[in-house]
């Protein structure tokens, strides 16, 4: 009875649900960035976390050290992130994949890119954590007993907007449908003479854009440092694979599930259990549902 009441106390605490929403949106956006890369290039871009970090970190550096306005710094951060993503594709991923050695070489290449971005950020902008400088924040307010922080509304709005736009872009535009076709079967697309390279490049750029917006907005919560990059990458990857790769909405569900784990595992079992809990959740999930919740439709 006591256990049940304690259990309910967690589940009925609106503050925790606000945390689930805020974290879930962030994880989902990172997952969406992964999804774009997967769709357009058939490839998990493990540099996503580093790109999100670099955008937020650079923006913050521009605001605090050079007095740029937040929106301007945000634009620079986003453009920089897109540039990094495009360079990664053109200079690293494409040449490595062109040799046709399977996915491992490309995976190691983006791994090395991840570390390079982390270290270059540290070298030029400093290794210390910086305050987040979101280009948009709202005044905190209360809903009943719960407080809604300044970054909650922006990240929810941005998430809703980006997911809707992504859905429309991928389903309703010719280029989007083309991109999906290429991700489904690159060889067939090549035979058909589709503009594979353009679509790939666009998918990298879109992933960079989404990651940057996610990073810049979420950094408003507790700052950003180069050390965040790897953790953000793994989080986004997990959000995508838990949600599945079947629809553009999948990372949203994956992000929400991951956020539930991140909030309620510490609440019920303590924060020290989180590391073990994540391994177990990931293993169970991959073992029983390796294709995620929303699986791509099986073609016979």
């Amino acid at each position: 009875m006591v256990g049940l009441r304690a259990g309910l106390r967690g589940m009925t605490n609106p503050q925790l649900w606000i945390a689930v929403v805020e974290n879930g949106c962030f994880f989902a956006l990172l997952g969406l960035a992964f999804y774009f890369n997967l769709t357009g290039a058939g490839f998990f871009n493990f540099g996503i976390g580093a790109i999100a970090m670099a955008a937020a970190f650079t923006g913050s550096w521009l605001v605090t050290e050079h007095g740029l306005s937040r929106p301007l710094a945000g634009v620079v951060g986003v453009l920089g992130a897109i540039a990094i993503a495009v360079v990664m594709e053109l200079a690293v991923v494409r040449p490595v994949q062109a040799r046709g050695e399977g996915e491992l070489s490309a995976l190691v290449a983006v791994g090395a890119s991840l570390f390079t971005i982390i270290q270059l950020s540290g070298l030029f902008l400093g290794h210390e954590a910086r305050s987040g400088q979101p280009f948009w924040s709202t005044a905190p307010f209360s809903v009943g007993s719960a407080r809604v922080g300044s970054t909650v509304v922006p990240i929810v709005v941005i998430t809703a907007a980006l997911f809707t736009l992504s859905y429309l872009a991928l389903q309703r535009t010719r280029l989007g449908r083309l991109t999906r076709a290429i991700g489904n079967d690159t060889d067939a697309a090549r035979v058909l003479g589709l503009p594979i390279n353009t679509a790939r490049l666009l998918s990298f750029a879109a992933a960079g854009l989404i990651a940057a917006l996610a990073g810049i907005t979420f950094a408003g919560r507790s700052g950003v440092s180069p050390d965040n990059a790897l953790h953000w990458t793994i989080t986004g990857f997990l959000a995508l694979v838990i949600g599945g790769t079947g629809t553009v909405w999948a990372p949203l569900l994956g992000g929400a599930l991951l956020a539930l784990a991140n909030v309620f595992i510490p609440f019920y079992f303590g924060g020290d259990v989180l590391a073990y809990g994540l391994v177990v959740v990931a293993m169970l999930f991959f073992a029983f549902r390796p294709e995620g919740v929303f699986a791509p439709r099986v073609r016979v």
Partner: protein, 321 residues
């Protein structure tokens, strides 16, 4: 003939390194760090390069080796070398259990789960009592066989011999029927399966063998330095171990050893306080992956065969793409 060249060069290189280190404690320490990395990278070579499965738990296996030595000595009063003997089977068992639990995963999925496992393993080492918790185990005695206590130089020499023998063994294994089967399983698992060798069992054997070798790296480091703690083999080590064979060249196990030497040189021996060793290493990996996919060894081999051959390969590769 050309197959033996890397072996001869590798052994010669190790001998030169031993001579170079001499009785200098700093150089010996560099050499031990290099051999530690080399053993972890050689361990990863088996599943990663030969079988093509990216298991990222190698920090855990190195730590298993280190703790086998430390716990055996500190709690059970074993001599250090006994821990070194116990480490490989223990690490192999952990790897096989983890491998069995992740049998259905491959590629990115396997990488993600094994990386999470590695992080949880570090947390576990810090929470257990027998491992000495977060401060680990320090103050281990020096290596001793019966009454004979080898000098640091002799210890280094033994480590060099161990690493050299393992690199030679892996090179022989790579070219043996077993090696052909496992290398084929990387490209065409279905062909190997329908030829009668279960690829999942083969992968488990590769994971076990790799973990056993990597554990020796951890055991060596702890034996030489006399201490271990949960952060000794952090997630950093995993990525270094992935990068090292690629830097050296994946065509041959000696590439892993060469990669370890280059990484240790770049991170510890180059006096560049402002820039970080990690940056140099990741940049070299990018350059090598993009421009020299066969690594330093592959490039050296090509160069050795003369400029004409180089030109032909490059033009041929150009023609194909």
């Amino acid at each position: 003939m050309s197959a033996r060249l890397p072996n001869v060069a590798g052994v010669l290189g190790l001998v030169l390194l031993v001579v170079w280190a001499g009785s200098d404690l700093y150089r010996s320490s560099l050499l031990v760090t290099m051999l530690t990395y080399a053993l972890v990278a050689l361990g990863m070579y088996v599943p990663f390069v030969l079988a093509g499965s990216l298991s990222l738990s190698y920090s855990a296996y190195a730590a298993t080796g280190a703790y086998a030595v430390a716990i055996g000595t500190a709690h059970a009063g074993w001599p250090l070398w006994l821990g070194m003997l116990v480490a490989p089977p223990v690490a192999a068992i952990i790897a096989v259990v983890l491998g069995a639990a992740t049998m259905r995963l491959s590629g990115f999925y396997l990488g993600a789960v094994t990386l999470l496992f590695a992080e949880a393993f570090i947390q576990l080492l810090g929470n257990l009592g027998v491992t000495g918790g977060p401060s680990g185990i320090v103050g281990l005695p020096l290596l001793s066989f019966g009454g004979w206590e080898p000098s640091p130089q002799q210890t280094v020499l033994m480590a060099v011999v161990l690493t050299g023998v393992l690199a030679l063994a892996l090179d022989r294994l790579r070219r043996s029927p077993w090696g052909v089967v496992i290398r084929a399983s990387r490209e065409v698992p279905i062909a190997v399966d329908t030829a009668g060798v279960s690829v999942s069992v083969l992968n488990l054997v590769a994971l076990g063998a790799g973990a056993a070798i990597a554990s020796l790296g951890g055991a060596l480091f702890t034996t030489y330095v006399g201490a271990v703690n949960p952060e000794t083999f952090s997630v950093n080590v995993i990525f270094l171990a992935v990068f090292m064979p690629l830097i050296g060249g994946i065509g041959n196990p000696w590439g892993a050893v060469l990669g370890a030497a280059i990484v240790v040189h770049l991170t510890l021996n180059v006096d560049s306080l402002a820039s970080s060793g990690t940056l140099l290493v990741s940049l070299s990996v990018l350059v090598i992956l993009v421009l020299f996919p066969r690594g330093v060894l592959g490039f050296a081999g090509t160069a050795a065969r003369g400029g004409t051959t180089l030109l032909t390969t490059v033009t041929k590769r150009g023609a194909r793409t």
